[in-house]
Each structure stands twice: as C-alpha cells, then as structure tokens.
Symmetry: C2
DNA sequence: GTCTATATGCCGATAGAC
DNA sequence: GTCTATCGGCATATAGAC
C-alpha cells in the first residue's frame, strides 16, 4: 500500500503541467509545446494519452473537481471549528494565492469560465461542476450555522453569493494589481454576515435540530454526476 | 450639427468590429482576419491605423472608457431618481445583456481582465481605468444616498463591492447558462443594502417607497448598434 | 488611404520507427 | 509507450502598386 517512489506517470505530469500553465497563462495562450516542455514529455506520448488539447483541458477540470475538498476546503475548514469562520477561511485561501503571485494569478476556474468559447458544452459542464462543488461546500458551513441566520434565508443562494464575491474580488485585484479590492469585497461580505446574524428574526426556540431528512431536500452535491447536472 | 449620413470611417468600423468580436470570443481567439471581414476593411488599411492587434485592443478599451457614461450609466440612471435604485438599474442593464445572449456573453471588460497576460501593463492600465470609471459612477449614487447609509460606511469600497457582485454573478451565470446565480447575487446585494439602510445609526428622514425594478425596463433605443449597447 | 499578394513563424496534430 | 521528424493551416504582420 505504500506509495512507490517513482516519478509521476506521464499522464499525471501532463495534467500537472497544464494545471499550472492554464492557471498562469490561460487556455488559448498556452501552447501544447509549452506543456510538453514543462512536463518533459514528447508529442507522441501526449497524443497517446489525450486525443487533443481540449481533452487535456477536460482532464484538468476533472482534476480540480477531485482536488477541491482535499486541497482547498479541508485545509480551510481546519482553521476554525466555527462554520462562518470557515467560509472566510476559504476566502483567505484565495487571498493567499493572490498575494503569492503579486495579484496576477486568480482563480483558475473563474479564468477559464470566462475564456472558453461558449459552444464547448462539455468544458462548460465541468466548469459548472467545479462551481457547484465549491458552493456546495460553502453551503455545508451555512447549514451548520443555520441557527444564527434568519429563518427565511436561502442558504443555497447565499453560497453562490459567497462565490460571487470571491470571483469578483479576484478579478478586480488582478486588474489593479492590488489586494485592496479583494479585501474590500470580503470586508463587505463580512459585514453582511454580521448584519444577518444580528438581525432580530425571532426569539430563538430551544427546539433541537431536525432528525428527519426530507426526500427532496437539499442534497449533498458531491455525489452528483458531473455530466448530468446542468439546466 | 446634424450627423452626416456617411458610413462610419474605416478606423471606427475596425473598432466597432473588434468591440463585438472581443466581447463574443475574447482577445486571443479573435483573429485579425475575422475583424477585417466584419469591418469590411483590408489588411493594409488596418495596419495603416493600428500598428498591431494589441494597439487595436487599446483603442477598444479606450472606446469603452468613453462610452461608459453615455451608454451605460446615463440610461440606467434615467430609470429612477432614487440613487440606490440607480445602482440596481445598472445591474439590471447587465442582466439584460445576459438574457439577450442566452447567458453566454458577460461583461467584456471582466472577460478581458482575466484573459490578458499579466505583463501587458498598458492594457491592464486601461482595464483598471474602466473599472475605476464604473465604480466612480456607482459611488456618486452612494454619495447621494449617504443620509440613508451608516456614517462609518466607506462608500468607495462599497462601490467596488457592487462591481464585485456584478462580475461574479455574470461569471457564474455564464458557466451555468442560467440567469439564476446572477439574480441570486443581486438579491443578496439588495438585502445587504436594506440591512445597511435599516441599521439604527441615527434618525432617518422619510424613506421613499421602493418601486419594483423591472430588470431592463422599457428600452427606448431602437437604432443603437448592438455593440454600442454593451459595456 | 486602399488594395492584393505574400512573408514568416508558430499552432495543433500526425506518421511511423523503435 | 516513447521517440524524431514533419505536415498543413492559420496566425500576425508586411511589401509595394495604385
């Protein structure tokens, strides 16, 4: 069961290289030759594993879907047991990436979501799946904090709002090359949460949390199929 | 002072074509040949006016800077005299563009802000100038509504937050091909404003009744070119 | 300012030996 | 599965007549 000490396999090296280069330079601006050089792979091997550059992009996006929890959400959640603090720990993760790159590399998924031509349905499907996984993870935090939030509040749409704030903040910080707009956006999101949790929605009942899971209720999206979700 | 009925000059035709194609397909994916065909201009004429494709991009971004007030802000502000409603009228403008394009074309500035390589300083400078013009216009609304907002609130950063919500919402709607995420984000921004204006910072003057903002209300323009409508 | 023809290079993708 | 060599095409940009 111990992992063998070999260098990563060719296919994984290609995905790793593409993950970095698409993040740094985008999809169209990254040439296959660049990927080959970085991965130290020859052209023939590339087309043995991937039928095209776009097929590699799909593998990259699948890699992001699978890596979201172990590499983003779980480390962020480990920062605090408080569910709302966990939301902001996720945002702090993206802030760190901005800082480390001089505010030049933002969210790789967001970048691709705006770059990829609209007629590549399969690619956009995987982009949407990435967003869905992200918001679903945030939603688990919001659900855990439901007692502090107004009862009429829709936590699914609030999780989308959190993603909106992250992506919009990253975009402005990249344009300005300053972390300021990102921080400003997160501060306002923080204030929104404070106002929501302070709003006198009702006297808090001492009723214990629900035991009955409703059949059509909020699903855990991590087991959703990646190819059947859109629309 | 009547506008002469001539066809647009070559330079303007090139900019118009590029505005549309960069909006639809992005910068790298748009070939010069495509621009020439759409503008009905020959290669020689193109390089008479622009030293390179990137020089045309700079002209396009300058076009957006100059068009922001007449083609986006003023029409939106005409929807309501209430300054906070005007903020949401601007957001409704972008909603309309999403709807008209099946949620495929978003904000052209945001798209370019994430696509253009980070080492093109001049381009990013003009992208930031576009964002600055946008948030400055929003800030005039917030300043006009200052009596309804908490005294400690920083209106500059709130105007950046409004842009963040617009851009993040557009991005998610493009990925999902549904207007839902955009609407959800704007709803939460609305709720944030309501909480801010309701917070008991001091005695407040009479709040005017809030009319329902029909997103993208009655259009009075019929002969504006498509590309002129979008910022 | 406009036109046609073309230079030059990189692009994604392939052929075929090993 | 890996390697070298290369294809055909499209990219941006230019030359030079008119």
């Amino acid at each position: 069961m111990a992992a063998p000490p070999t260098t990563p396999e060719t296919r994984e090296r290609l995905i790793d290289a593409a993950v970095f280069l698409f993040w740094q330079n985008g999809y169209a601006a990254t040439g296959v030759a660049e990927i080959l050089a970085r991965a130290k792979v020859n052209s023939g091997s590339f087309y043995h594993f991937f039928r095209s550059k776009e097929a590699l992009l799909l593998a990259v996006l699948d890699w992001y879907v699978r890596g979201l929890k172990p590499f983003v959400m779980q480390p962020a959640f480990a920062q605090s047991p408080d569910p709302i603090e966990r939301v902001f720990a996720v945002l702090a993760f993206y802030r760190q990436n901005l800082i480390k790159t001089g505010c030049t590399y933002g969210c790789p998924i967001g970048r691709l979501a705006l770059e990829i031509p609209e007629n590549r349905a399969e690619v956009h499907h995987l982009l949407a799946a990435n967003f869905d996984g992200w918001t679903a993870a945030i939603e688990t935090c919001l659900d855990a904090a439901r007692d502090r939030l107004p009862p009429d509040l829709d936590r699914t749409s609030l999780s989308q709002f959190v993603l909106t704030v992250m992506e919009g903040g990253v975009m402005q910080s990249r344009a300005h090359r300053r972390i300021g707009p990102f921080d400003a956006s997160v501060r306002h999101l923080r204030r929104y949460f404070e106002l929501l949790t302070q709003s006198p929605h009702h006297a808090r009942p001492v009723t214990p949390p629900r035991p009955i899971p409703r059949p059509g209720g909020p699903r855990k999206t991590t087991h959703r199929s990646l190819t059947q979700e859109l629309l």
